[in-house]
């Protein structure tokens, strides 16, 4: 009996110390919503993978409005969550204020830019990934006209569009690229109806491949493209499965990897800047059984060759955000 008591006591003690030692990571999704099938859902996928592999739990919350960002950050930091991971550029301003108040917590901003010792900035070279899917779009297009539908009109999304346009022009210098943005506010990340309308408008102008870089809005773009019988390109997550045989490919932005690695590092995560690019697998294009028939051998060889050249530095894709201009596309 006494042995049993000791044993139980020890087990309880162990459980208590374990609970105290491991701080849960927290994940905050931005306005597109957790299940946007794209950017935020990629973050969720990474967190889930971490949770399944380690058996750990994490806290999460979806933003409902712009004004909640600071409160959500403070709540998680206050409750001892570490690291606190945020998705989307819009957290930058809130983090600038909150991060200095909680020096022992590490914050992660994906797509944002914050200069603070306890903030880890994770960026992606979306222009490189977009270049590859741009090449594929030009190869698959029969009309010589391809479309781009962005979410909110910000430099980040123009960076996608510019990389895409460069890829298209690399294959077919005479191609026409129609670029539209869904809106100028964060509501543009979750407006599938407008995405659908823009797709129809681009189809009427002759586009037969459209690339959506618009978060949840892209769901409407892909749906309409599939309904109207043209090809579409997904973004961030692998969206090929949404409409098998109708989605040419997806530009992968491995937000899931960023989240997974941040959660794996846990409390030991340090501030700093990390760029995930083509060379280290941070961006790329998706191939699976859903689009195998759409992508020919030749397309894949050419795109893989271009990917190797970009990774090696032989092809330099112009980054819109570097000088706010794009050689291949005017907005």
């Amino acid at each position: 009996m006494t042995l049993m008591q000791k044993f139980l006591g020890a087990a309880a003690g162990l459980a208590l110390t374990a609970g105290a030692a491991i701080a849960e990571p927290a994940l905050i999704y931005d306005l597109g919503g957790k299940f946007d099938k794209s950017f935020n859902e990629a973050a969720f996928a990474g967190a889930q993978r971490w949770s399944e592999e380690t058996g750990g739990t994490f806290r999460e919350i979806e933003m409902q409005s712009e004004a909640q960002r600071e409160q959500a950050l403070r709540r998680f930091a206050e409750s001892g969550a570490n690291p606190v991971i945020t998705t989307g550029f819009a957290f930058s301003s809130a983090l600038e204020v909150v991060a200095p108040d909680y020096p022992d917590t590490t914050f992660v901003t994906i797509d944002g830019w914050v200069d603070a010792p306890n903030v880890k900035v994770i960026g992606f070279t979306e222009h490189e990934g977009s270049y590859l899917v741009g090449m594929m779009a030009a190869q698959a297009s029969e009309t010589g006209t391809v479309g781009f539908i962005g979410g909110m009109d910000i430099p980040l999304i123009r960076k996608f569009a510019c990389g895409y346009a460069q890829g298209v022009k690399a294959v077919n210098p005479d191609a026409t690229i129609i670029a539209n943005m869904t809106g100028t506010t964060p509501a543009a990340w979750n407006d599938p109806v407008k995405g659908s309308e823009l797709t129809k408008a681009q189809i009427s102008q002759g586009a037969d491949v459209v690339y959506a870089a618009a978060g949840g809005t892209g769901v409407g773009v892909l749906q309409t493209a599939a309904d109207e019988g043209i090809l579409s390109i997904g973004v961030d997550s692998n969206q090929n499965h949404l409409h098998p045989g109708k989605v040419l490919t997806s530009m992968l932005k491995r937000v899931d990897v960023a989240v997974y690695e941040s959660m794996t590092a846990g409390e030991d995560l340090e501030g700093g800047v990390e760029v995930l690019n083509l060379a280290n697998g941070g961006v790329g294009y998706a191939m699976d059984e859903n689009n195998a028939e759409l992508v020919t051998e030749q397309m894949q060889t050419e795109v893989d060759a271009a990917a190797a050249s970009i990774a090696a530095g032989d092809i330099v894709v112009h980054d819109y955000a570097s000088d706010d201009s794009c050689p291949a596309l005017t907005f």
């Binding site: 409005s65 709540r75 819009a90 301003s93 204020v97 108040d101 910000i154």
Partner: protein
């Protein structure tokens, strides 16, 4: 004459409505397989269990006090102002302009300036529907709610194209300068030895809101204007016969109402965010209607109801954070409270009235009639 004693009217009716709302909410929580008692415990500890929770509860309550007062004042003149959302948004614009473009030497002066600008912008936004109502007969319910949408679009445009600092991707203004930062409850309570959470956003605006409650009470019941306003509310034709100008009363009431809604911005824009973001009002304009209904359009009632809704807001946010109860369900709970205290008021009131009548009859078997004095 009153069927119910005053205490039953102001305490019993809202209390029973609340209990009914709580019971149905508990059933809803049970139905999705969660534990309602644990949920209530979490809400209470999250909203009232720490100074951090109190800080947020009071912060939300401050917002609701202003918007609740705005609706209450208009109610007294039987004007239904549901444009609090837009008026508060415009108030935010006023505060942002005041804080960004005037170099204030000290927060106290900045506060006065921001109060003036917030009230001015909010009042302006309410004055247009008021004018249309008074001169053109356009119904104020329709116009004020439509002005909410116009305000949202206007702010969209201004934040994206005008006030957004260059190089910023986020549609929001720059941060307000240091000198305009309002003292939080943490700073206000520190000198008297109370340590209040530093992170919570409740600030000196709470005192402004309490002052506004007192001023509105004085205005409604202790001034000539308040009398005219109530008279107009009770009977427009009688008020007109008594020489009260409907145009003047409609305009003044709505200007006061809009100004009060606009004042909310000093709490959320100047006190909390310290910059103007999109959707800064977060539905407080609509909650104000529920607060005014529940508070029976009395400033003290509004004060109490605002704190209750502040609790629901903060407690609901905690629920969303720490349980798998979806955020939408929190809205359901809030809606139930609004439904029972506002819309289904008579459902509680009428049985209660009957009960009080029955009790009275039981006490005096023969209902005595007062002898009618012959009028000489």
């Amino acid at each position: 004459m009153d069927v119910m004693p005053k205490w039953a009217e102001v305490i019993l009716v809202p209390l029973i409505s609340l209990i009914l709302a709580a019971i149905i909410s508990a059933l809803v929580i049970l139905a999705i397989g969660e534990d309602p008692i644990a949920a209530v415990k979490l809400m209470v500890s999250g909203a009232l269990g720490s100074t951090y929770g109190w800080g947020y509860t009071l912060y939300y309550a401050t917002n609701f006090m202003f918007t609740g007062l705005a609706v209450a004042v208009a109610f007294h003149a039987r004007l239904f102002n549901i444009g609090g959302e837009g008026q508060a948004a415009l108030g935010g614009l006023g505060v942002a302009l005041a804080c960004l473009y005037i170099p204030w030497p000290h927060w106290s002066l900045a506060l006065l300036g921001a109060i003036a600008m917030a009230a001015l912008f909010g009042a302006f936004w309410a004055a247009i529907p008021a004018y249309l109502q008074a001169r053109r007969g356009s119904h104020i319910v329709i116009t004020t709610i439509m002005f909410n949408f116009i305000a949202a679009s206007l702010l969209n445009y201004i934040l994206v194209n005008v006030l957004r600092p260059t190089g910023s991707m986020d549609p929001a203004t720059a941060r307000f300068p240091e000198a305009t930062q309002l003292p939080t409850l943490h700073e206000l309570l520190a000198p008297i030895g109370i340590s209040f959470s530093k992170a919570a956003p409740a600030n000196i605006t709470l005192l402004v809101a309490v002052l506004a409650c007192v001023l509105v009470w004085a205005l409604i019941w202790h001034t000539r204007l308040g009398y005219e306003l109530r008279a107009y509310g009770h009977s427009q034709s009688a008020a007109k016969y008594a020489g009260i100008s409907p145009f003047k009363i409609t305009m003044i009431t709505m200007i006061i109402s809009g100004g009060l809604a606009g004042l909310m911005a000093i709490n959320n824009v100047m006190g909390e965010a310290e910059r103007l973001v999109l959707n800064a009002v977060e539905g407080a304009g609509f909650i104000g209607i529920a607060v005014a209904l529940m508070g029976r359009s009395h400033p003290f009632g509004v004060f109490i109801a605002a704190i209750l809704f502040g609790f629901l807001y903060q407690g609901g946010a905690e629920l969303a954070l720490w349980t798998s109860i979806p955020r939408e369900l929190i809205v359901v709970i809030q809606a139930l409270v609004i439904l029972f205290t506002g819309a289904l008021d008579n459902m509680v009131r009428m049985p209660l009235e009957r009960m009080f009548l029955a009790v009275r009859r039981a006490r005096s078997p023969k209902p005595e009639r007062k002898p009618i004095e012959p009028a000489e």
